[in-house]
C-alpha cells in the first residue's frame, strides 16, 4: 500500500516539476497574456474600398492627446494598424515588430488602433518597452471607428487589419488578416513603396 502511495506522490511531484520548467520559460510578457484560442478568421464586412476617401475620425491616444486622421493629410502617408485586443498572443507580437522597423516606414505615420481603453493600452505598450508610434483607443463609443471601416467583429473587437492611406486621404491598400495570424511585414513594405514611389 505504501509503495503505491509513494509511486503516486513521485508521479505527481514529477509533473509539478516539469510544469515548473515550462512556466519558468515564459518570456517577454511572462504569464500575463490571455490566449483566446483559435478564432473565426474574419468576422465582419468591409465598409470601405480602395481609392475611396478614408472615413475621418478623432480618437484619444496613449500620449494623452486627441489624434485626428485628417490632420496628417498633405504631410504624410498613413498606416492604420488595427489589432483586436491588448494582452493577447498575436497582438502582443505584432507592434513590437514595427517598433524595430521604423526606417521601413519612411514618409509614413503609423497609428495603432484598438478597441481597448487607454489605461489598458498604456500598460500593455509599456510592457512592450514603449513604441515609437502613437496608439489610439477606439473604446468609446465602442468600436465606432472600426465599425465605420467595417472591421468590427461580432464580439466587439476589431479585425487585425491594415489600411494604407495616401497624403490626399485616399485608401490605397486594405488588408484584413486572419485574426489568428500576423500580417507579413514584407507585404506591408511592398505596398508602402507603391504609394511612396
Amino acid at each position: 500500500m505504501n509503495t503505491i502511495r509513494i509511486t503516486i506522490v513521485v508521479i505527481i511531484a514529477f509533473f509539478i516539476a516539469i510544469t515548473g520548467y515550462v512556466i519558468a520559460g515564459s518570456t517577454a510578457y511572462g504569464n500575463k497574456i490571455y490566449d483566446p484560442g483559435k478564432l473565426k478568421p474574419v468576422d465582419s464586412e468591409l465598409k470601405v474600398k480602395i481609392n475611396e476617401k478614408a472615413p475621418d475620425f478623432t480618437l484619444p491616444s496613449i500620449s494623452g492627446k486627441s489624434v485626428r486622421l485628417s490632420s496628417f493629410y498633405g504631410k504624410k502617408n498613413i498606416m492604420l494598424t488595427f489589432i483586436p485586443a491588448a494582452w493577447t498572443p498575436v497582438c502582443s507580437d505584432q507592434w513590437p515588430g514595427y517598433n524595430i522597423a521604423q526606417e521601413l516606414f519612411e514618409d509614413t505615420i503609423l497609428l495603432g488602433i484598438s478597441v481597448d481603453n487607454i489605461p489598458s493600452l498604456f500598460a500593455w505598450t509599456r510592457e512592450m518597452g514603449g513604441l515609437w508610434f502613437d496608439v489610439l483607443s477606439d473604446f468609446w463609443p465602442h468600436g465606432a471607428v472600426s465599425s465605420s471601416y467595417g472591421i468590427l467583429r461580432t464580439d466587439g473587437v476589431s479585425e487585425r487589419a491594415i489600411f494604407l492611406i495616401d497624403k490626399k486621404g485616399v485608401i490605397r491598400f486594405i488588408h484584413v488578416e486572419d485574426i489568428n495570424i500576423r500580417p507579413d511585414l514584407g507585404m506591408i513594405v511592398k505596398e508602402l513603396k507603391k504609394i511612396i514611389f
Binding site: R5, V9, V10, I12, A13, F14, I16, A17, I18, G20, Y21, A24, G25, S26, T27, A28, D93, Q94, P96, G97, N99, I100, A101, L104, M128, G129, R182, D184, L185, G186, V189
Partner: protein, 185 residues
C-alpha cells in the same frame, strides 16, 4: 502533511536533475530539415556539401545551439546583442569542441528574418519558419528559446539543453552549455 513535505522535496529534487532528462522528448521534435543557406559563408560554416535541405544532425559540429526567435519578440530584440556576443565567444573558443549556432525565426517570413539579421548585424545563419511548421513541431516554445544538441555522428544527436528566456550573460551561458553537454555522455 507528511506527503506534502515529501512532494516538496521530490519537486526540488527533480529540478536538479540534468536538463537532458527533460529533453529526451525533443529529439523527435527536432527531426526536421532546413533549406541550405544561399550564402556560401553560411553554407561553409555549417559544413554543408550541397544545396539540398539538411537535417540538424548533418551540421559539421560537436555541439549545435539553436535559437528559436521572432523579430516581433521584444526579448529577442533586446537579446540580439547578447546572442551576437555568444557567437563571437563561440568563434573565439579554443576548446577542441566545435560549436555552431543557428537561429530559426518562428512565424517569420524570409523578409522578416532578413530584416532582423540586418537590423542587429547577425552573422550566424538564420532560417525562416514562416508557417510555424517547425515551431509547432517542437511544441510552440516561447521565444527566445535555446536548444543545445550534441552531435553523435551519422546524423544522430542528443538534446542536452532546452530553455526559454534570455541568456543574460553570454559567457556564463556558454560555460553552462558546455558543462551540461558533458553530462549524460
Amino acid at each position: 502533511m507528511r506527503y506534502l513535505i515529501f512532494i516538496f522535496f521530490i519537486v526540488i529534487g527533480f529540478h536538479f536533475l540534468p536538463v537532458q532528462g527533460v529533453c529526451q522528448n525533443f529529439k523527435e521534435k527536432l527531426d526536421f530539415t532546413l533549406p541550405a543557406p544561399q550564402d556560401e559563408i553560411h553554407k561553409n560554416y555549417l559544413g554543408l556539401l550541397n544545396d539540398e535541405d539538411f537535417s540538424l544532425g548533418q551540421i559539421k559540429a560537436d555541439i549545435v545551439i539553436i535559437e528559436i526567435f521572432s523579430m516581433y519578440c521584444p526579448i529577442c530584440q533586446r537579446e540580439a546583442a547578447n546572442v551576437n556576443t555568444l557567437f563571437d565567444l563561440i568563434q573565439k573558443n579554443e576548446s577542441p569542441v566545435k560549436i555552431k549556432l543557428i537561429g530559426i525565426g518562428a512565424g517569420n517570413s524570409s523578409f522578416e528574418v532578413e530584416f532582423f539579421k540586418k537590423k542587429y548585424t547577425i552573422e550566424f545563419p538564420l532560417f525562416s519558419d514562416s508557417d510555424f511548421a517547425i515551431h509547432k513541431k517542437i511544441g510552440t516554445v516561447r521565444t527566445p528559446h535555446f536548444f543545445g544538441l550534441a552531435l553523435q555522428g551519422n546524423g544522430k544527436f542528443r538534446v542536452f539543453y532546452s530553455k526559454s528566456g534570455d541568456i543574460s550573460d553570454p559567457e556564463i551561458f556558454l560555460e553552462t552549455l558546455l558543462k551540461v553537454s558533458k553530462s549524460g555522455q
